[in-house]
Symmetry: C2
Subunit: 109 residues, 2 copies
DNA sequence: TCCATATGAAACCAAAAGGTATCTCTTATA
DNA sequence: TATAAGAGATACCTTTTGGTTTCATATGGA
């Protein structure tokens, strides 16, 4: 099971966000990702592991290759989490609106 | 200026996510937050600093008190970031749909 | 079969992060 | 005007993280 903090932790690093942006254009093997960075294969692999743990990418095998692609699940999790707080702002604004309206009606008394 | 990775980094820790959930119910001073955790004041303060750096909370002064509240900006940033990838999925699904349709029309030839 | 290539994993290191103890500063209030 | 309460900052310690080097495994092709 993916923890929400694992997803956010995976997103909390510039290199990993860049990798996601690469994968948004095309699926890639680790080798292809390595070509885009000044970093060791093993270093990139660690980032990929964290992205996978966060549910943001998935891997399919093709012979001796491992092809990495974006995983909708992780993004959906983030989207839903942030939507909870959107609701929070809506409620707060409504409460403020109601308060103002009731004060206005008090003025009329 | 707030970097998106600072926002995600701030969200990548269970304690900080809990603090946000507390602040969603009511604004709090650090002292009030400390009462909810088995942690030093200085420890909580560090978390608050990171949340502020990520644009997720803001602080207003009231006498000797500092009152912390949620900051819409940070949440908006996350929401917009994830929306970019929503668009990505939509495009991908449309491409798939177009592919299927063109193959179907080929069959008719 | 032999070798080049794509991969995974472990050991190791320096830097960053989570946390505490301690000190200083400011502001209510007795 | 003392003094207690709320806050911030620094030094310090331990754990985690970002990164490399190195070794082992699997697969495609000459």
């Amino acid at each position: 099971m993916v923890q929400i903090t694992d997803t956010f932790k995976a997103l909390g690093d510039p290199t990993r966000v860049q990798i996601l942006s690469l994968l948004a254009h095309e699926d890639m093997t680790i080798g292809q990702v390595v070509d885009q960075f000044d970093m060791t294969r093993a270093g990139v692999k660690k980032h990929m592991n964290l992205l996978q743990k966060g549910g943001l990418i998935r891997v399919r095998a093709n012979g001796r290759e491992r092809i990495n692609s974006l995983n909708p699940e992780g993004f959906k999790t983030v989207s839903e989490w942030v939507r909870y707080y959107d609701q929070f702002w809506d409620d707060k604004l409504n409460a403020l609106k109601n308060l103002i309206e009731s004060e206005t009606s008090n003025d009329k008394q």
